[in-house]
Symmetry: C2
Subunit: 403 residues, 2 copies
């Protein structure tokens, strides 16, 4: 007998029929003798609809009230799933974030889990029942309802798996696993049987949409094995686990694409120490997450500083830069959201030189100009024109023989 | 400065525009120097939609999960109302039943309020804020989410008004007050400026739909003055308060109509003590609420027992009666849901004989046959054919000069 956490995303519980299919799967797992804890997201587009409704009502939206609003979605899906399980003879009990003992800090709309008080869930498991827990939400020490932000339901599932000592955390979604690249762009892309936490983190950080970065980090920190699979086909998906040192690593595991970044350049910055620090402190103070940074040296005593940020932060970023122009003694600010970041991820990269060279050769032979480069020990990212992004992904997927 | 509880029903917060109108009204009350506690229902048809969704998912619906499901509706409306209030510069904070300290028993889907722990609401009021509380829901001592059943939001409002010592509980709805009769049936019906708790209770019990019976009972028991008014016109409505002994009472205050009852007759019951008791114990054990009862005496040593019940309980009732036929030695069971109950309510009835006579004369002159009669000190109810119901209401409204 093992303890399994099964998390179902919004499309997996998108309508009455899907909810019944999920109940059937949970019931089978339960009947096979496993203990099951279920985590659900809100149904389909519920969260988007609630956000639209809020926008219709008011432009002033206290974050505490956004959390109260959005946390209603999972209550609906989890209660319905419990009813569907009852119909199959499985005793299931729904728990809000608060009832499940998911204690967070007080940062509304992006709360962090601080502690899991799992007594009620453990009691339900011990009595042979199936706890169905609301993903994405928790309760602060001040008894306020909080939500965890993007990817919150995955994080709930992983955190519960860690707290309860689950054998596996199964993440059910609308794709059948983690692929070598987005199959809509690269028809030859294939499903990976296994990736390491490190690789999955790099993929999540560079445009892989299957898992949210913070849930992968959480899984790695607590050594929770993840199994990403489809609630439509129910076939085995991709395991995300510790790196296996006895196995040879693929040099390149996947090619990812991120079109959501924008580039900002501050021109004519005097070449003096401390100015770059001033600029990035200003951005950090506005909560802008800077990703790639390139500083060109110059012959004239000035330099251009370019960096990428999420498109959503573009306005805030140009505001910060423009406001600092005088203080920096810089000449101007330009921005460009017509860029794409193409990345290669692979644990074997560490021990295989030549990946960078082949990457550059491949892009060059397709006439694709690289505007910025950043690397980690298991990743190479290139910023290119958005219009050339799909060609670049296909060319690299082929060059590294991932098909 | 007074403390006002304002309760807004589903149609009052039916869409974004209505929510903004409610916020405007609450903000005006607050700016006029009053302390305001707001209670909201779920938006428009939300509850019905959730029930339909549950029916699509499963025929087995544990009542605990129904409560979890339905309690999501008020979270949405109250969070949106707080946003709309924030837009108007009013600091408002939403509270779930649990957060508002509304402690109930554990009877899911029809919980009873046992205690109100109002500290959080009082603290919000003292800091100058407006607490917005979810109607219809509470939390049991076992930390389970409960709902209060039909008319639950009115009950929440009245209970909060009693616990906080409010000066008035304003019930906003889609009609402008309590009328002498349903204006859709009787165009001459007019709005009453004031009715007593007793009259309002009799009206609520006999088909008046403006207030739920239990909320009126609660208001009476705790002497909470109610003000029933429209959130569409905002004009003064009807006050429901203690009887004023210094004022002469109207003989008849209102004519009500209830089409939701059905009649069951058990024929040929031997005329022996204890048999009627056995029958009504059987019905009580199935939670059937029996209303009117008539037992005809007979010359042949047997009797027919007729009673009315809510139409929804008709199947259960005939089942109970049929099951008891042998034990009772009765000959048969008939049922009839084509009946209507017309009632006259008036506090002055106690001291004015002749109301019954005029009632019977009025119906007789219109050729309307009375099948059953029941009375209280301030009410007369007649069971008649459903097809004659509207004529009966109009005739009585005219005969007692309520127009």
């Amino acid at each position: 007998m093992s303890l399994v956490v099964q998390k179902f995303g919004g499309t997996s519980v998108g309508d009455a029929e899907r909810i019944r299919a999920v109940a059937d799967h949970v019931a089978r797992t339960h009947r096979a003798g496993h203990q099951v804890v279920v985590v659900v997201s809100a149904m389909g587009k519920t969260t988007d609809q609630l956000i639209r409704l809020a926008d219709d009502v008011s432009s002033v939206q206290p974050r505490r009230e956004i959390d109260m609003l959005l946390s209603s979605g999972e209550r609906i899906s989890m209660a319905l799933l419990c009813m569907a399980l009852a119909d199959l003879g499985v005793e299931a009990t729904s728990y809000t974030g608060s009832q499940a003992g998911i204690v967070t800090d007080t940062s509304h709309t992006r709360a962090k889990i601080q502690e899991i008080r799992g007594e009620r869930l453990r009691a339900t498991l011990e009595s042979g029942g199936v706890p169905v827990v609301a993903g994405f939400q928790g309760v602060s020490e001040e008894r306020e309802v909080t939500t965890l932000g993007r990817g919150g339901s995955d994080t709930t599932a992983v955190a519960l798996a860690a707290a309860l000592g689950a054998d596996v955390c199964e993440i059910y979604t609308d794709v059948s696993g983690v692929f070598t690249s987005d199959p809509r762009l690269v028809p030859e892309a294939h499903k990976l049987a296994r990736v390491s936490y490190d690789e999955m983190q790099e993929m999540a950080a560079t445009g892989g949409r299957v898992l949210a970065l913070r849930s992968v980090e959480f899984a790695r920190n607590h050594a929770v094995p993840l199994h990403v699979r489809s609630s439509f086909t129910w076939e085995p998906g991709t395991w995300v686990d510790k790196e296996d040192p006895t196995m040879e690593q693929a040099v390149v595991t996947a090619v990812t694409l991120d079109l959501s970044e924008a580039k900002v350049t501050v021109t004519g910055v005097p070449d003096r120490p401390g100015l770059a620090a001033r600029l990035f402190r200003g951005l950090a103070d506005r909560n802008v997450n800077v990703d790639m940074i390139v500083q060109n040296t110059s012959l004239h005593g000035t330099t251009d500083i370019s960096f990428t940020i999420p498109e959503a932060d573009l306005d805030a970023s140009t505001e910060v830069c423009t406001g600092l122009l005088d203080e920096l003694g810089a000449t101007g600010v330009t921005s460009d959201d017509d860029v794409a970041r193409v990345s290669l991820v692979g644990a074997g990269m560490k021990t295989h030189p030549g990946v960078t060279a082949l990457t550059f050769e491949t892009l060059a032979s397709d006439g694709i100009n690289i505007e910025m480069i950043s690397t980690s020990s298991i990743r190479i990212s290139c910023l290119i024109r958005a219009a050339q992004a799909e060609d670049a992904v296909r060319a690299l997927h082929a060059a590294f023989e991932l098909g």
